[in-house]
Amino acid sequence: MITLIVNGKEHNWDGDPSLPLLWYLRDEVGLTGTKFGCGHAFCGACTVHLDGVAVRSCSTSMHEAADRHITTIEGLDPAGNHPVQKAWREVNVPQCGYCQSGQIMQASALIRQNPHPTTEEIRETMAGNICRCGCYQRIEAAVRLAATGA
């Protein structure tokens, strides 16, 4: 039996410990905000926080998630008003929106670790998250806005 805390709530899993956390969250728990994009940590669509650090849930097994705190997009802020979420809306970042949960989780982890990232640091860190619609200019602007208010 694996125990893990998802968005502050305890969950138990007695199935395959090698199951990627992504599919546990989406299909078993029903937290569909975390998206599937590639299955191999190439695209970042499935980014969640594991004890506060951004990880790709598609490449994190349930075994690795045992006894850890997981935060998904649904748990980032109770009202959806994390500074990164607000900045995303202010800048009208999304087009199709599919990758944006992962982008927001990556950006919020970045700002937590590095409250004042440079443009270069933003571009390097966020390069792990693919947006096929090409919202990068606005993602960069929104991360900067969330970090500095400008």
Binding site: W23, C38, T72, N92, P94, G97, Y98, N129, C133, G134
Partner: protein, 765 residues
């Protein structure tokens, strides 16, 4: 005004929690009225009536008002990131003088008889639905006004609707839209010829760019519902092992090890169709499990023997040489003006360019996925599809059901780019659900997506330009060789169709006396499909690179060369040799090939993008322009290439003339995104084949643009337009000029001419 079930609605944040389920007013059977001209506004013909089911302008199909005043507007087109789910309802709201803060948007199920065409592709939504949506709004407004006048016992001329209420002008009495909902629903729908349209100067939303997309809040909190997010009680999760070669099939399979995987419940063969089979599934072996992860693990454990079929020999490197050889020989003449052979003989100089663009994959961030529940002779499908009605019709045929027994719910699309115009994944879900008697969601992995796509065509383009002794281009011969999308529908189709030839080949807008376009044959060996901008990508790349090559050969400025080739402002007549110009399905009277507008976007981007500015060493500027989807787009790229050949893009400027526009903020986002898609295909995009199999699998081998590649700044310049200029496409036209502008910039920076894509390692030193 009219009742229906409320579900899957999205509204702006402030309205979360207000219900409209209680006290809905009236159910009216809708016999939708076709789109017709109205008084009081400039109208124009479009190609909409040639699309299946045309357009509908009946307010009863699109608008409902609840007693609490909430106005529900139907979005009938699919949202894949263009903003259409916001823009079209916004048109209705503006024209009916509704307050956007009290509007909610509901996504239509597939039902073209009711809503008109729903096939969301070809950059058509605004150009076909701007007028019908205005008519819907105007009719709803007039019905509210008529109801209020009746209630007050005053002439309708004394009342006017404004900001969600109707006012009796002489007395200042007011009635809210909610108060009038029931009475308004009983009013006759005004005849289109009697509609009084708003004066565009009074628009509050159209053209302003102040309205955020309706799903913005939900997207940022993870609540927006895509195809992958459908969950039904008792639902199973499936993945499919598909034949690695198109046209292949299962010989035998051993499910033993797959069935041992924890969570796997069933393994079954899925029927495939003989190739070509339009959008029918490829077939294969499905693994059905309690979650997607288990299904994937189970599939990895399958043992399958395949018969690869007739395409097993497909080798894209060999094929490339065949295409390039074909482009060096005469082919089917698809446009002929003057006498190219004679002009070439008399030419002082001939500039030749041979270009090659490979297959690439759509790779929307949401891979194909669909959920189906087939039970008791009825089918219900939830899917991110660009073609709701086509999905319904194909599902009915595939399942052996009547169309009226099939329902297709359209979710948000996590990207589309043309991939989700083909509903094979929805048919797979329907087939499996029917077979297992339970709801099922079929998930494509990224490997499935990249290896079993309907790929963008592969193309060899060859252009010869004959110059006289003054450097003037007197002859132009363009051969385009590419397998056609029609090969997916019809065996043996081996020439580009009018809709492909018309994307930048035969509609060449240049002022050259002798022009010949040829299309040698090319046989397809995989599934070819629409990819955002379609054949405009190779055609524009060849033409716009050639312009730069001619400029270089004659010592001219590339922008001046481009303007000289476009020639004077005029409506371009391609001549009688072009049997079917196509013109994006539009009447040429409304959407002529306007060389004046083409010139103006070049001039606009040159001015705003500071063409000719000094750039640092190792930097270069490139320019390209292209008319596609009846819009005009010009792009300037500044590139920087360092001593190791690493490329960065300090700045991009794009000018677009898309006629009258509705949502400039979303035009800007589409053009920003087009730069990234253009960059992705230019720098990385390539699917290769060996032994009939796609060699790329995921984002490691099929790379796409990331933030670290992306331009430091992309400026978008929208050409102002009046209502006299009909609206034209936005979703696609930004893509084609990008790659040639980039490669022309690379030439300016390095002297290295890129003639085949992707750029890949060509710049490495």
């Amino acid at each position: 005004m009219f009742q229906y079930r409320v579900e899957n609605v999205s509204r702006r944040g402030v309205l979360q929690g207000l219900g409209i389920t209680a006290g809905l007013v009236l159910a009216v059977p809708v016999m939708s009225r076709r789109g017709m001209a109205a008084t009081g506004m400039a109208t124009y013909k479009t190609g909409a009536d040639k699309m299946p089911h045309g357009t509908v302008n009946d307010p009863r199909a699109f608008v409902a008002i609840a007693p609490d005043g909430i106005v529900t507007i139907i979005a009938s087109r699919s949202e894949m990131g263009t903003g259409v789910r916001t823009s079209l309802p916004m048109i209705v709201a503006d024209e009916m003088n509704a307050d956007w803060g009290r509007v909610q948007v509901k996504q239509a199920d597939a039902d073209e008889a009711k809503y008109g065409n729903q096939d969301t592709d070809g950059s058509r939504s605004t150009r076909h639905f701007l007028i019908p949506m205005r008519q819907v709004g105007a009719a709803a407004r007039m019905m509210l006004e008529a109801a209020a006048a009746k209630q007050w016992g005053v002439p309708v001329s004394e009342v006017k609707a404004d900001n969600h209420e109707v006012i009796h002008t002489p007395t200042g009495r007011k009635l809210g839209y909610g108060d009038l909902a029931t009475a308004a629903a009983a009013e006759p729908v005004p005849d289109p010829s009697q509609l009084q349209m708003k004066d565009p100067k009074d628009f509050r939303y159209i053209g302003k760019g102040k309205v955020s997309i309706v799903d913005l809040h939900d997207i940022t909190v993870g609540k927006a519902m895509y195809g992958i997010d459908t969950r039904l009680p008792g639902m199973k999760y499936a993945v499919i092992a598909r034949p690695p070669v198109v046209g292949g099939k299962v010989v035998s399979f051993d499910p033993t090890d797959a069935m041992k995987v924890s969570g796997v419940e069933k393994v079954m063969e899925v029927k495939g169709w003989p190739w070509p089979s339009k959008f029918q599934p490829l077939g294969g072996v499905a693994v059905i499990a309690r979650n997607t992860g288990a299904a994937i693990k189970g599939r990895d454990a399958l043992k399958i023997v395949w018969d690869d079929g007739a395409n097993a020999h497909y080798d894209s490197a060999v094929y490339r040489r065949e295409l390039e050889e074909a482009a060096r020989k005469p082919g089917l003449v698809v446009r002929n003006n003057g006498d190219v052979d004679a002009a070439m003989k008399s030419a002082d100089k001939i500039v030749v360019g041979e270009y090659y663009l490979p297959h690439f994959a759509h790779a929307p961030m949401e891979p194909p996925v669909a959920t189906a529940n087939v039970a008791d002779g009825k089918a219900e499908i939830w899917a991110p599809v660009q073609s709701p009605q086509g999905t319904l019709d194909d599902a009915a045929k595939t399942l052996g059901l009547k169309p009226e027994d099939v329902t297709v719910h359209v979710t948000l699309l996590g990207g589309g780019f043309g991939r989700k115009s083909k509903c094979d994944y929805a048919l797979e879900a329907a087939i499996i659900s029917q077979a297992i008697g339970a709801p099922v969601r079929v998930q494509w992995t990224r490997e499935d997506d990249i290896q079993h796509d309907f790929y963008h065509t592969v193309s060899a383009e060859r252009i010869e330009a004959g110059l006289d002794k003054n450097g003037k281009v007197i002859a132009w011969r363009h051969r385009s060789v590419a397998p056609t999308i029609m090969s997916t529908f019809k065996a043996g189709a081996n020439h580009e169709a009018p809709f492909e030839l018309g994307m930048g080949l035969v509609d060449l807008p240049f002022d050259i006396q002798n022009i010949r376009c040829e299309n040698p044959a090319a046989e397809a060996h995989t599934r070819i499909g629409w990819f955002r901008s379609v054949s405009n990508i190779p055609h524009a790349f060849a033409v716009q690179t050639m312009v730069s090559e001619i400029a270089h050969a004659t010592g001219r400025d590339p922008k001046d060369m481009l303007l000289e080739l476009i020639g004077p402002a005029r409506l371009v007549d391609v001549g009688p040799s072009v049997k079917d110009l196509w013109d994006y399905g539009e009447p040429i009277s409304s959407y002529p090939i306007d060389a004046g507008r083409l010139r103006k976007v070049v001039e606009l981007v040159a001015e705003k993008g500071e063409w000719g500015r000094q750039v640092p060493k190792g930097h270069g500027l490139g320019i390209a322009v292209h008319r596609s989807f009846v819009s005009y787009v010009a792009t300037i790229v500044e590139v920087a290439v360092d001593s190791k050949g690493k490329m960065t893009i300090p700045r991009v400027d794009t000018a677009i003339d898309c006629g009258i526009y509705v949502n400039p903020e979303r035009i800007q986002s589409q053009i920003e995104g087009a730069a990234i898609m253009g960059l992705s295909l230019a720098k990385y995009g390539e699917i290769t084949f060996k032994h009939g199999r796609a060699m790329q699998k995921n984002f490691d081998t099929f790379q796409v643009g990331r933030m670290s590649d992306s331009p430091m700044v992309t400026n978008v310049h929208i050409m102002p337009a009046t209502w006299a200029v009909p609206p034209s496409g936005v979703g696609e036209p930004g893509v084609p000029p990008f790659a040639p502008a980039l490669c022309n910039a690379i030439f300016a920076a390095t002297g290295k001419r890129i003639r085949h894509l992707p750029i890949g390692k060509q710049l490495e030193v």
